[in-house]
Amino acid sequence: MPRGEALRARLGEITRARRIGEARADETGAAAICEMAHLSATPRAGTAPADLPAVAKPRRPRPKPMRNGAAAGAEARVGVEAFLPGGEWRDGSGAVYVHERLRSEIERPRSHWGQLGVPPADEVDLVALVACGLERALFLDLETGGLSSSPVFLAGTMHWNGKDFVIRQYFARHYGEEGALLRAVSECARDFEFLVTFNGKSYDAPFLATRAVIHGVRLTLPPRHLDLLHASRRRWKRELSNCRLQTLEYHVCRRRRVGDVPGDEVPGLYHDYVRSGDPWRLAPVFHHNLLDVITMAEIVRTLCDPRRGPPQSDPEDWPSRPE
């Protein structure tokens, strides 16, 4: 049990202050202990005169735990609002922070954004998606605390409103807002026919289901699910060394990322944020999540265009990040 010195010291204090006999005086156990030790004639252990340590240690004054940004209200100097303008989604049982913006606010709008070509006939899900229209698809990407039982703290969604892509980011400002995040995503998902993810069949969807059990939330996701990982593998596995989202982004969207946070550091950053209330180190995570959903839309478009393959030109010439 390798634990911090401070914790061990505190547990030691608790242990030495404990009076097992007293705590159990009214329980059957105390009687059994006395009997075992042939002590039945003597007073019970707990009633013996107190036998205090010579050094009556004053209780260590405990530092006040720092309050997190969301709960701290006025105390927080910089809240998440500074990085992610938005408001609260609320229902009877809680709130979650929502940021909303249009894709055209991030990059130059293109006329082809809403247009899907003709997908290969053997990509059944893709054909179905095109048939029912881009407006009926909800793109989704999650950022989580890492392990299966750790929280999902950021859900990025995107959909086509006929003119532009609408991006929403649902952000739990602390662990207590995760339930509301799940309810908000569920509410949003109700209006769509298709869920579009990258590896979501193995990751995002079961993760949400798991978290919904923990929070007792009735999760609703769109009835159909298009997982781009599988379609991408079928299309590009021969040309590309791997089919990770970042690799596809590089080759399909001709975009490279700078200043990105390595994926395995993301969970730690969130826990730090909840502890400190200071969101600045999380800012790249919001951005990263945003790019992921945009990239998914680009992959869908590319998959529907049989002529387009991985580019041959030198990637060094491409813009590093859309601004």
Binding site: P2, I20, A32, A48
Partner: protein, 794 residues
Amino acid sequence: MQAPIARFLERPEAAGEESAIARWLRGASLAPESRGALAHWRTLPARAASFAKLAPPLPAPLADALAHRGIGQLYTHQVRAIESLRAGRDVVVVTGTASGKSLCYHLPVLERLLVDPEATALYLFPTKALAQDQLKSLTRLASGHIDVLKALRAGVYDGDTQATTRRRIRDGSNLILSNPDMLHQGILPSHPKWARFLRNLRFVVVDEIHSYRGIFGSHVANVLRRLERVVRHVGGDFRYVTCSATIRNPGELATALIGREAEVVDDDGAPRGERHFAFWNPPFTDETRVERRSSNVEGSALFTALVEHGAQAIAFTKSRVAAELVYRYSHERLERRGDDLHERIRPYRGGYLPEERRNIEHALFSGELRGVVSTNALELGVDIGGLDAVVMIGAAPTLASMWQQAGRAGRTGKAALAVLVAYNETVDQYLMRHPEYFFGRSPEAAIIDPHNPYILAAQLGCAAYELPLDEADRVTFGPQSEAILAALEEEGETRTIDGRAYWATTEFPAAKVSLRTISDDTYTIMDVTRGNAVKGTVDGISALELLYPEAIYLHEGETCFVRELDLEQKVAYVEPRAVDYYTQPVLETNIRIRGEQQRREWRGESVRLGELTYSWQTVAMKKVKFHSLDAIGYHPLSLPRLTLETTGFWFAPGEAAWHAVARRGFSPIEGLMGVRNLYMTLLAMLSMCDPFDLGGMIDSSNLGRPALFMFDRYPGGLGFCEQGYARLDELARAAHEHLIGCDCAAGCPACVGIPILRVAQQQDPDLVHAREIPGKDAARVLLEHWLAEHGSRA
């Protein structure tokens, strides 16, 4: 092969009609060479079966399945257990070995599964072998009727379950057999994936609860509370069926373990034949009356004679080495007969490959094997059927284990024989002189402390990871949890928001928390002459005492020479080699003060609390000749030292105390030893741990004069000795009360006697020499001196 159905139908033999093997043993004790060996003989009377009627009766398919197994009626305890469960109460069943205990849970569970296809049940066993064994017997029972078989979808879910089957069992089974460790690390942390199983959970069976004692039991109690809260979370509700061997406090243990009041069902209705107990003390070798004949040799002679007289028998030994030696001697003896009887006995112990062990259990059950020489590995309830005779070579460390071992003898209703063969060693010799110590005392209590702050801190972290902890959980985990959560919060492990404590780090807490104190690092033993085929395994600590270079490692009686011990790869390379000796490690233990945390003046003594390093090392080996036990060689070894860094308290009694004892004509050092032994027992009670969780040493090398060291046998310590340090007065008073309350004249194992110093897994008890029990009066005077000191308590 299945047990003959006749076994269930046999009638008890008429009272007074002594069984053939018991008659034989009585006769043998009269032989001149065994003069004086029979120290005690006692016969416990037979008891007739007592049946009861279940109202309403079991569903017809289940009753049919039972009838198919030859069971037409239920014993009183089975009926009571089922009726209590039907009425919604939690129960603890405490009845003898082979009393049909498992039907107390199989029946109500199957009854429920028959009427409710959604319902699920979880069985927990302390070992994987027991889970496999119970799956077999459950399937056997269910296969008696097609409806029962159809209703049951059972599977074992443990560390050996293949990844591919795991999911199928999780999603499809309605009865899962597992162990607390798997529940702790494998099931609870991913409970949302188990939602179907947990929501429909109706019964949790915890068998062999007497093995959940001390640290292990305290952890398991918290794991069960975690189970209950995730089940409640998804809307499930279940009853507990717990079973225990005979211990002093089964009801108390069950209640502490499951956190609910458990109804004790102990009206054992199973029939029992007469039971004969013989205490056998190997005679002195000569007129000097110092050395006795080897107990291993003597024990193997009794064991083989019983087998030759037609009894199916088991010999229990105290260590793996002893099991091998007794097997070897017995095998040699039977070989001389010239028939195949020597092939029908086997050794059995931990470290053999699992399939090898299953084979032996099976062959024993079927009757194909006539005898087994085992360590305590066969003490737990793997169903090997009832045997005719048990030879215990050396007394087990607790009375509860001794009764458990003796209980292995006794086919339903037939006479049984148990022989205790004494080593020339303190406790065994005491038992030979005072058999009432065994027959008159109730077995030890099993104590757990789920509220231990160190254990609770570890468990609350795991619980918070599974579901945030709220107000209700603070009741579930007890009054300590508030303060401990505050400490975890300070450490940054949890974070409380709106009254709910969340796990707040990226770590997976259950991975750092092991329920058991034994390490999981395992050495593999490979045979170089057979292409490095795996021969067996051994735990990391024992490896250094068993498999050092040039050691003779005994495996199924065969002598193997250890060529090399690879500490990096954790592999021992051995080759079979016929030699006429075996080897024994020479251990050196040591205690060192690492740091002092606190100091207090207590009744004239200066007592410190701090960090200690307890270490031990195999420094040499002895070569010992088979049979004669002659030492034929001694070789120094250089092996790594194993250490336990822990917490403890210590003090060196001052001159006043020393003189007080010496003035009365007693030995102060003997007094201090007696106090150490008393403190081992009483501190365990005071701090609610098992005596095995504590260590105690008298050492002069640290302080320059004899000092008493008490420490926790757990890395970092778990607060047992911290409790003792804070309550020195209570400890001394309790020790004094205990001492003067003991009926013995000059000291016995129950008071100043030898405590459990170390579980000598790898030692041959035959080579341990008897030590005197320290004088009772010396310890009494020492304690009285302290208790008379005044003005120093503040």
